[in-house]
């Protein structure tokens, strides 16, 4: 089988999620990686992708139309390449989820979302019902289009490969959409989805001020990324990109610290594959304790500052 992976990159570096997707792709066949973007940054990302272990060839598509990964422009590029490939793998990230189904429909293929494991060339497992069930599905489509959940696969080594980079051209701007701007959370902390330690806060923190006053210093002590429950995000204590859960980010750090989070099903779906789960909550019957390895029952407003100070 020949497999195309759509690589996501930022600042000339392939994203961690793409390294995991490349591992998944290797289970299916020979891996070619598509780097779409604009200018020097795209070229740099293509060169970095060529060094990833397991990548046989890199395709570089350099055009202003691909700069912001607009689905209207990137999907026709990818679909146009699929004549040469049996499968397309994208990250189950906001970009992958945006682009992959558009490609799948262009190819008349039923996509398989959020793949957790590859059981064969046509058989995959994926979560349904917010992770309350795992389905094993078999595809009868001639070509496969998958989005891959990064936490389910180990990351391919960023070095050791020596693939060739071929520059390709594709469709130009479809003229349907344009990028206006972005508000991204700038942070010195590690990225939420690839951090070794995550400290998450819930609604019990009570306000945005308390959220940052208590969670941030603890995260700094642990070198952790900061996450939040949906309730905390809905209440405005933390921005949307902090949200951990089925409809937010899926994380699986070595250590996950849940503070003032009761443990709604949809939150658990986003973090239950973490190595060690630590829960701090005043309600000893909170569902979070059913999945926590280490629990501490008590008032977070006392416990968290004490913990931060003693670490």
């Amino acid at each position: 089988m020949s497999v195309l992976v759509l690589v996501e990159h930022e600042g000339g570096v392939p994203k961690d999620a793409s390294l995991a997707t490349i591992t998944a792709a290797q289970k299916l066949g020979e891996v070619h990686a598509l780097v779409a973007g604009e200018g020097a940054e795209a070229k740099q990302a293509a060169e970095a992708t060529a060094k990833i272990a397991g990548v046989a060839k890199v395709l570089l598509a350099d055009d202003a139309a691909y700069a912001n990964m607009l689905a209207e422009n990137v999907a026709p590029l990818v679909a146009g390449l699929m004549g040469n490939y049996d499968a397309l793998l994208c990250n189950a990230t906001s970009n992958g989820k945006n682009i992959a189904p558009r490609v799948a429909a262009m190819l008349d293929v039923m996509q398989i979302s959020d793949v957790l494991s590859i059981e064969g060339t046509d058989t995959f497992t994926r979560p349904i019902y917010a992770g309350n069930a795992i389905a094993t599905v078999k595809s009868s489509d001639a070509k496969k289009v998958l989005t891959v959940r990064a936490t389910a696969f180990t990351k391919a080594a960023a070095s050791g490969g020596s693939a060739s980079v071929e520059t390709i051209s594709g469709p130009t701007d479809a003229g349907l959409s344009s990028f206006v701007g972005a508000e991204t959370s700038k942070s010195e902390r590690p990225e939420l989805t690839s951090a070794k330690v995550v400290v998450s806060g819930g609604r019990a923190l009570g306000s945005s001020e308390e959220f940052h006053r208590l969670i941030d210093p603890l995260a700094d002590k642990l070198g952790a990324a900061v996450g939040a429950s949906r309730a905390a995000v809905d209440a405005g204590y933390a921005p949307n990109d902090y949200q951990v859960g089925q409809t937010g980010k899926i994380v699986a750090p070595e250590v996950y610290v849940a503070i003032g989070i009761s443990g709604a099903i949809q939150h658990l779906a986003g973090m239950k594959d973490s190595g060690t789960i630590v829960a701090i909550n005043k309600d000893e019957d909170a569902p979070i304790f059913q999945v926590a390895d280490l629990g501490l029952v008590g008032d977070l407003f006392q416990i968290v500052p004490e913990l931060t100070q003693k670490l």
């Binding site: 607009l70 689905a71 209207e72 906001s94 989820k97 945006n98 992959a100 189904p101 558009r102 799948a104 429909a105 262009m106 293929v109 039923m110 996509q111 959020d114 979560p127 349904i128 019902y129 917010a130 992770g131 309350n132 069930a133 795992i134 094993t136 599905v137 595809s139 479809a174 349907l176 959409s177 344009s178 990028f179 972005a182 991204t184 989805t193 330690v197 002590k221 642990l222 070198g223 949906r230 809905d234 949307n240 990109d241 409809t247 070595e254 250590v255 099903i265 789960i277 630590v278 000893e284 304790f289 059913q290 999945v291 926590a292 390895d293 280490l294 629990g295 501490l296 416990i303 004490e306």
Partner: protein, 249 residues
């Protein structure tokens, strides 16, 4: 501008799904069913666009069993104008739903199609993007803000790094995220009024769409369960455990 809002009847979001003993799926017998929460947000957004004068008519459509009528009536009670039920008892995959919606879009010519970003049963997150591909329209997925500005729609999207805004030429496809709005409850008079609003009954065959599934579900299992761990007595104990894990910077 006409707005088309597809809605899906799914397990109520407060119900904990149980996997059937024989591993064929999730048990839905005698389980409360409701409108998919993301679709409810889409219906609400359409109504707000109409209230602002940006939309003239709201058409809701559902693909599903006879009972999906209830879901459509809920949307009508919230404020949609008329409904189309494309009735089938088969399980319909997102690609087939997108093809049916393409046919409805060709017929109705909406300026905007507003969909939930995903259904909380199969969690596919595909239908809107697929509809956009099939109709050749631009797509604004995971919307937290939708603004009609003349012949374009500006969509603020919830993305991994934060928020991103795109400008799309109308007609366009938009899929909703959680924080776009808080859907209203239908009032009793509106629930009564909804009973007399028009609902067309169709089948997939009426649109000439083949809905045969491409995927076969081989089995459905419960995820591996985590064992509950230990409760610690003090912060000091937790400090020791965290140090043992080697995560203290």
């Amino acid at each position: 501008m006409k707005v088309l809002v597809p809605v899906k009847r799914v397990i109520d979001y407060n119900v904990k799904p149980r996997v059937k003993m024989d591993g064929t799926g999730v048990d839905l017998t005698n389980v409360k069913m409701s409108m998919n929460p993301f679709d409810e947000i889409a219906v609400e957004e359409a109504i707000r666009l109409k209230e602002k004068g940006a939309a003239s008519e709201i058409v809701v459509v559902s693909v599903g069993p006879q009972k999906a009528q209830d879901t459509l009536r809920t949307a009508l009670a919230m404020g949609a104008d008329r409904a189309i039920l494309i009735q089938t008892d088969q399980e319909v995959e997102p690609l087939a739903v997108a093809k049916l919606l393409k046919a409805v879009t060709d017929e109705e010519q909406p300026g905007l199609v507003l969909l939930g970003k995903q259904a909380i049963d199969d969690d596919s997150n595909q239908t809107g993007q697929m509809l956009a591909a099939l109709t050749g329209r631009p797509q604004g997925t995971f919307a937290s803000k939708v603004e009609i500005k003349g012949d374009i729609v500006e969509v603020t999207r919830e993305v991994d790094g934060g928020l991103e805004t795109v400008s799309l030429k109308l007609p366009a496809i938009v899929t909703t995220d959680l924080r776009l709005n808080e859907p209203r409850y239908a009032s009793l008079p509106n629930i009564m009024k909804a009973k007399t609003k028009p609902m067309a009954n169709k089948t997939p065959a009426d649109y000439g769409v083949d809905i045969a599934p491409r995927l076969t579900t081989l089995k459905v299992e419960e995820p591996a369960k985590r064992q509950a761990g230990v409760k610690l007595g003090s912060v000091d104990e937790l400090v020791v455990k965290l140090k043992d894990l080697g995560v203290v910077a």
